[in-house]
């Protein structure tokens, strides 16, 4: 809310902040990426890590001298617990894998039974068709007075003809 005599303090603050951020940002950029800073930071981290390692070893030594469980002992026990848990999970993996195999085998078995049933149905249908054909071809036994006697032997001969051979072939 700037007036002719009074500047907008909020805007002014924002501007100041932007300038400060830009200046600080570029200064920090130079510092944080300079080889001197990175080298010193690396050395500092290295020393801190070594000091931490030495401190933990000395605490372990002290605890051991007092015949108390050390941090390493606790870590060892936790590792054993984790290892046992991992073995249990491996067993669970195996059981689930076997379950998957059984399900797959059951699927295969059901599929095989379906296929066998389908084959039987097909066979039955073929048999029924053959019976029907046989019924059509079946001719009653010839009698002396029957007028069709002359044709009967030829039909029987056709029936006896070898399969796949056409008449006259």
């Amino acid at each position: 809310m700037a007036t002719a005599t009074q500047p907008d303090i909020g805007k002014l603050g924002d501007e100041l902040y932007k300038h400060w951020e830009k200046a600080m940002g570029s200064w920090w950029d130079q510092v944080l990426e300079s080889p001197q800073f990175l080298g010193a930071m690396g050395k500092n981290l290295e020393h801190a890590a070594k000091a931490r390692g030495q401190y933990e070893r000395s605490v372990d030594d002290t605890m051991e001298r007092m015949h108390l469980p050390t941090r390493s002992d606790v870590v060892r026990v936790a590792k054993i617990a984790a290892m046992l848990e991992e073995r249990l999970l491996q067993q669970e993996d195996l059981v689930l894998g076997l379950k998957d195999q059984v399900v797959a085998m059951q699927k295969e078995a059901v599929q095989a039974r379906i296929e066998a049933a389908e084959a039987r149905i097909e066979l039955r249908e073929t048999l029924a068709a053959l019976r029907q054909e046989l019924g059509r071809l079946h001719v009653p036994a010839p009698t002396a007075s029957a007028p069709t006697a002359a044709t009967a032997p030829s039909a029987t001969a056709a029936e006896r003809a070898p399969r796949g051979k056409k008449a006259g072939a």
Partner: protein
């Protein structure tokens, strides 16, 4: 008007003085744990009615999973379940000193693979869509590559992958990449001395990536602190930020050496547990999403997946920073759009 603005700022300062971060609660969306593997677990967020395929999310090992569930109305999992997506979240848990020797292969191959398997079984599907965020995305990419996801004969139950702010070309990771160089970063001494990489060091290094970030943070809260919604989100983000997790030592050693020192996901030559890590071995379709203002994983570092992945890759940029992207409404919308595609 000016008096009112000053009064609001004073009130915001009072609110800050009352330490709202200590009482901020994250991870409040109802869910249950469906599987545990040592410290890791799979958290299941059930939708009222599942209308979309399930999603398995891999969170970063260095933070808690609650970045996906910051506050009501600002939660990725809440928005996804509301959209009918059954969500599974892999929470790595908190590494302790007993995990210092655990190699990266254990996390990438065994734990991730097992959690994925149990999520798939729980969801009752044959294949699942997966999402990885930040380091979680890198771990997921390595897992999918090692499992040959999408290739014929692979048993990896993954259909598609969504990588969010996931570094692939680590040499494009800005200041972090320039810091993590073998000549200036004493990796072995740190891991040998500390065991696990301490969360305090991790948080400090992230803080120093943007030295004026702390000032910017408090300026934003003074500027917008009058909005209760902003306050709630700010406190939740601060809570999450301060709740770091130690990086298991042996895993950290391999991760920094291979990814930051050698940039092996791009350049190759990474042998993990006797097997090479080659991202081209994964052929499932992938989408990689970068955040526009991400100073930890810049767009170039994330989108580099396109050059090394074995399957088709779609790239996208969402507005926001590395963490802020998880607090907005754009991310859940982008995930749902991807799930529907």
């Amino acid at each position: 008007m000016m008096v009112a603005a000053i009064a609001e700022k004073v009130e915001t300062l009072r609110w800050l003085a009352a330490d709202p971060v200590a009482t901020a609660e994250t991870g409040r969306t109802p869910h249950r744990v469906v599987f545990r593997d040592h410290k890791a677990c799979v958290r299941y967020f059930a939708p009222a009615v599942a209308t979309r395929p399930p999603l398995f999310c891999v969170m970063p090992l260095i933070n808690t999973w609650t970045v996906f569930d910051l506050a009501p109305g600002r939660s990725v999992v809440e928005a996804l379940t509301a959209a009918g997506v059954p969500v599974y979240v892999l929470d790595w848990g908190r590494a302790g000193p007993e995990d210092a020797d655990t190699p990266m292969a254990h996390y990438v191959d065994t734990v991730l693979g097992r959690c994925l398997d149990r999520a798939v079984r729980h969801a009752g599907v044959e294949k699942i869509d997966v999402l990885g965020y930040c380091v979680g995305g890198t771990f997921l990419a390595v897992h999918l590559a090692r499992a040959g996801a999408g290739t014929e004969g692979s048993r990896c139950p993954v259909r598609r992958a969504f990588f969010l702010a996931t570094p692939i070309d680590f040499h494009q990771s800005g200041r972090l990449a320039r810091w993590a160089r073998p000549e200036s970063f004493p990796l072995d001494a740190i891991v040998d001395g500390f065991g696990n990489f301490p969360k305090e060091l991790m948080q400090d290094s992230f803080r120093w990536l943007r030295p004026t970030g702390v000032a910017a943070k408090y300026k934003s809260v003074l500027d917008r602190g009058g909005d209760p919604e902003f306050r709630r989100l700010w406190a939740a983000l601060e809570r999450w930020n301060g709740d770091g997790v130690d990086f298991p030592g042996a895993t950290y050693r391999e991760y920094v050496r291979q990814c930051y020192f050698d940039n092996a996901l791009v350049g190759g030559g990474w042998i993990m547990d006797g097997t090479p890590v080659t991202l081209a071995q994964a052929t499932v379709p992938a989408t990689t999403v970068a955040a526009s203002d991400d100073h930890i994983v810049p767009t170039a570092a994330a989108h580099a997946l396109r050059g090394v992945w074995g399957g088709p890759v779609t790239t996208r940029v969402l507005g926001g920073g590395h963490v802020g992207v998880c607090a907005g409404a754009k991310l859940p919308a982008a995930i749902v759009e991807w799930l529907d595609a």
